[in-house]
Symmetry: C2
Subunit: 305 residues, 2 copies
């Protein structure tokens, strides 16, 4: 089931809408042109994770799109309404750590054509069990060309790179292409050969080495200069890993950096840290090292908020 | 006003829906991911123009997206219902040639998340008077980088180039960028410097020369190899121009070909043939030649169906 809460000035805590009936105008520019923005976040035991980071990124996407966005407080109240309503109607079973999770989506469109009123809502729903299975089993990933040069973002702001827009048809087509070719997911490569991101995730890699008996652990992600989306979960994990003694690094990265890594992950707010078993059919590191590093970093990530 | 007619197996001629009430589920993938396709076409005096070409292109977009599309006959009946309902409710004033026009949009999304049923509808509405004014006055256009190489389309089908998807956020952002910088519209250039298309139109240019007293007229459009959308109106005009003695040519074209042309147009199904007065502030040809060629080609276009 899904609980919908629309942001509506007439309803202080948001307007709850039956998810079984249509709620969006057919002329809404979110429908007719994918002209809007969104965020997906996880609420654990009733508490949204990294809420401020998601609201900040939503505000950044709105600026890129010149979209009027309701204030953060209005979003927070609607999120609270959605969460409590969803949990009351559909109590979630705890996972192996005793935690319950709910998927929260924030959506804001440019509103119906001819009106200048954005349409904004929060949707609460269950987390797909497929995601936990992917965390557990790992992913087979294909490298796909994203078509853009890694340098395009700053000189072509109309391409909206770094904004999380509703225009996700290419991201979905890339995932379908992967599924049709034996893959679970995708890592996009720029036209000039740099590692970018997944269609719905950030890319991480780890290098572990020994320096005179001391273990050096390095966690690396592509640089944002590439025009990729700043990953809220990648950011939270980096902060936790730094505190735990990991060195941090930022791209540019090339595909060979992925193949040379001890482990590669796709990381995102809902699926969290999913290890990459193979890229284009080539195993990354070894199963033992992948499992050990995934376990270590997942524990760090679980401590973040 | 807008008339909405949903394609619904329970309604042979389509299901008329009040456009003032929400008609789309908030979980529809057309909303949440821009995951769907569309066509815009003009009905003149109650007859949809180039209907088969639009239905064919819609079917091509559906194939690129692996989207299930209702049969053409179902679309045709829903279009007829939308047209007659709209004209009865909102008779349109005839233009200077005594013709009445109605804008028809065909939309098909992947449907609500978790269901495999596409959402499909026809919307009939009035044509914006801005478009006739742009045909009359002409356009100031900016060249903007589309970010893709001209060769990417065939080797990266997941980029959905050549499909008319609902993920139009970049097209809309490019138009906003133009408006904020003194322009009316945009011509996209590929990363490797080739002329592509407008955000909602095809690009045409004309060369007129004299060869021993005989006037040679040449109409040129970028090649589809670039990954641009095949223009239904460009196609119709090319056929009519050929019959009228014009030579036809297909790109690759570079920006200098636009600046060297006797006239440049943006052409599309609703705005039809709109002359480009300036590109990046530089006048194209002369006002007299632009007006004469626009008049000649508009007359040819008016005879097409």
């Amino acid at each position: 089931m899904t609980v919908l809460v629309f942001l509506d000035p007439a309803f202080f805590d948001g307007r709850i809408v039956d998810a079984h009936v249509p709620a969006i105008m057919a002329t809404d520019q979110g429908v007719t042109r994918g002209d809007g923005i969104f965020e997906s976040l996880l609420a654990v035991n009733g508490v949204p994770r990294k809420l401020q980071a998601h609201l900040d990124r939503l505000a950044g996407s709105a600026r890129s799109m010149q979209l009027t966005l309701p204030d953060a407080d209005i979003w927070k109240r609607a999120i609270a309404t959605a969460l409590t309503t969803f949990v009351a109607a559909s109590p979630q079973a705890p996972d192996e750590h005793g935690n319950t999770s709910v998927l929260i989506k924030l959506i804001c469109t440019r509103g119906p054509e001819g009106e200048e009123t954005p349409t904004a809502w929060v949707a609460a729903s269950a987390v797909s069990p497929v995601l936990a299975a992917q965390r557990e089993k790992g992913l087979d990933v294909l490298l796909l060309d994203r078509g853009y040069e890694s340098t395009i973002s700053s000189r072509a702001p109309w391409l909206l790179l770094g904004a999380k827009t509703l225009s996700y048809a290419v991201n979905m087509a890339a995932l379908r292409h992967a599924h049709a070719n034996g893959g679970d997911d995708v890592i996009f490569i720029s036209g000039d050969g740099q590692v970018l991101e997944g269609p719905t995730s950030s890319v991480l890699l780890a290098h572990v080495s020994n320096d005179g008996g001391k273990t050096l652990k390095r966690l690396i992600t592509p640089s944002l200069d590439n025009g990729i989306l700043p990953g809220t979960t990648q950011g939270a994990l980096f902060a936790a890993a730094k505190d735990a003694g990991w060195e941090l690094g930022y791209g540019p990265l090339e595909p060979r950096d992925l193949f040379d890594a001890d482990a590669v992950w796709l990381i995102s707010s809902i699926r969290l840290l999913a290890p990459v078993n193979t890229i284009d059919g080539v195993e990354i590191g070894t199963a033992d090292v992948r499992a050990a590093l995934t376990s270590e970093l997942s524990a760090l990530l679980a401590q973040t908020h």
